[in-house]
């Protein structure tokens, strides 16, 4: 499914949810159900520094397709990570880099991804893009 369709899907899911408590509940569920990151990657090398919650991120390129895995010690952060992974995983570096992430605004998570929020989410998003860039560069060589 193209990235834009996945985003539409997520927006529809959130539209059916009520106010913040249901949304957070949903994120918490997503967080709980995110497959565990390989323990090998749950260390400082894969840590994205943020003041508030720790996020570990890894990405692998298989058959031209990027696969992300992530973890966080905070469950809402982990839920958001799960959403981002759902959007990006299974796409080519080029698709990932071209994506505009309008769903973030649409589902009311903008505040979590504002560049001034020191929670590591923005850094996570940037790091996801850096991986895509790195793999794109690799493909072109």
């Amino acid at each position: 499914m193209p990235i834009s369709d996945i985003q539409k899907e997520i927006i529809e899911e959130f539209a059916s949810l009520g106010e913040w408590m249901e949304r957070y509940n949903y994120l918490i569920d997503l967080g709980k159900n995110l497959p565990m990151i390989d323990q090998a990657y749950r260390n400082d090398e894969y840590l994205i520094r943020g003041c508030q919650s720790r996020v570990w991120l890894n990405a692998e390129l298989r058959d031209g397709i990027v696969h992300y895995t992530a973890d966080s010690d905070a469950i809402i952060t982990k839920g958001i990570a799960a959403l981002m992974i759902r959007v990006f995983t299974g796409h080519t570096p080029a698709e990932i880099l071209a994506a505009d992430l309008s769903f973030i605004d649409a589902i009311g998570l903008k505040e979590h991804l504002s560049p001034t929020r020191s929670n590591g989410m923005v850094s996570m998003l940037n790091q996801m893009r850096y991986y895509a860039m790195a793999y794109q560069a690799k493909q072109q060589n």
Binding site: W20, M21, C51, Q52, A74, I76, N119
Partner: protein
């Protein structure tokens, strides 16, 4: 509760009457920054609209008046902390600015390779990094007072840290994380018995209890305006006169000099020697208004009311079995750092924010203290005299909602 005029006091702080996410605001982040009383808001407004002019160096009417207000502000601060002379009050950019000033000037004039500075495990980064930087420049090192499980300074260990290379003790009066009120008079006494000077970081103390620097006998005392209901960008350094006289200046610029030639510059007298450039004179006057406001209520009354709040909150929070409290000293301010079991502080903060309860989560600029307790952060609810028992209840209700959600 006591006859504290809480209704009236809340009216003095316009921001408190506010709805966030459809809920009345419960502002419990006073350790980070405090709200502003009308009296200070209006003083600043009036300066901006009617009185502003450059201080000290112009000859005109406005300038004269502004200078008088600025120097009166200094006297207000002097009286507020019981300093002997107004020239011992130096206006800085904040507690961090004050500590950097002392750490730099002490570093340049007193520190040699092999010397030692005593800090504690519970210091705010602002009372660690400036000393680390000075030590690094001079080849000196830090000695650290350990903290007990209750969150108190280990006073026996403290006494054993002194050596003939100890040059300075710099500790916080009240912990910004644990709330612990340290036995600072005793800390000063012990340091002086070794001939060592003491800086007290009053950033979390001076707004909560009457402070008298002569009684404490500390050599330096610092605090921030924005944490004592004053403006941002203003802070205070108090120092003993003979020490301030001896210390070299920190920043260079206008007003802090006597004569300047390219060959040689001589410095102005106290307090101006340490006030380089155009100071935040509007901020200083605003701060003085906040202090006058506090004095009009009475710091002793404020302290008593906050102690009642503390006791009430302690009771209510300890009724939540999944809550682990960090900082359980009997002698503490109304500051509560805790973790709900299996819930990340950040998740807790995010959720209770949606219920209108404003707290802070994270390391609170005290990473060594986090390491001491083996944690990555806490939720911190920090109360002050405009908070209410009702807000304590709302915090507890919100925490129970978190536990339900995460359960």
């Amino acid at each position: 509760m006591s006859d504290f005029p809480i209704e009236q006091i809340r009216k003095d702080f316009p921001i408190l009457d506010q709805i966030v996410y459809g809920k009345p605001l419960a502002y419990l982040d006073n350790g980070a920054t405090t709200q502003k009383p009308l009296r200070m808001i209006e003083a600043i407004n009036k300066i901006h609209r009617e009185q502003n002019a450059s201080i000290h160096r112009s000859v005109n009417f406005l300038s004269e008046n502004m200078t008088t207000l600025y120097e009166e502000a200094r006297t207000t601060v002097q009286k507020f902390i019981g300093a002997p002379k107004s020239s011992q009050i130096i206006f800085t950019s904040g507690a961090t600015g004050s500590i950097n000033l002392v750490a730099f000037s002490v570093g340049e004039s007193m520190l040699k390779a092999g010397d030692e500075i005593i800090l504690s495990t519970m210091e705010h980064h602002s009372n660690i990094v400036p000393w680390q930087m000075a030590c690094e420049r001079k080849g000196a090192s830090l000695k650290i007072i350990p903290v007990t499980d209750e969150g108190e300074l280990d006073m026996e260990a403290y006494g054993n840290l002194f050596s003939d290379r100890t040059r300075m003790v710099s500790v916080t009066h009240v912990s910004n994380v644990l709330g612990t009120i340290n036995p600072v008079k005793e800390i000063v006494r012990i340091a002086h018995s070794h001939g060592v000077q003491v800086l007290l970081d009053g950033a979390q103390a001076v707004q909560h209890e009457p402070v008298n620097v002569v009684d404490l006998d500390c050599d330096f005392y610092v605090f921030s305006g924005h944490k004592i209901y004053g403006p941002t960008g203003i802070g205070v350094l108090y120092g003993k006169e003979e020490l301030l006289e001896k210390l070299p200046p920190y920043q260079g610029g206008g007003d802090m000099i006597d004569q300047v030639t390219f060959e040689k510059t001589t410095y102005n007298q106290l307090p101006f020697k340490f006030e380089a450039g155009t100071t935040n004179f509007i901020g200083a006057i605003g701060l003085a208004e906040s202090l006058n406001y506090l004095s009009s209520i009475g710091l002793d009354k404020i302290q008593r009311y906050e102690q009642e709040l503390r006791d009430y909150a302690t009771l209510k929070l300890s009724a939540i079995p999944q809550l682990k409290m960090y900082g359980t000293s009997a002698d503490k301010a109304a500051v509560f750092s805790f973790i709900l079991s299996n819930v990340h502080p950040y998740d807790t903060g995010l959720i209770i924010d949606k219920m209108g309860v404003a707290v802070r989560t994270g390391t609170h600029c005290a990473m060594p203290l986090m390491q001491r307790f083996g944690i990555h952060g806490t939720v911190r609810a920090s109360f002050c005299f405009y908070n209410t028992t009702d807000e304590v209840d709302r915090l507890c209700d919100a925490l129970n909602t978190v536990l339900d959600l995460m359960g």
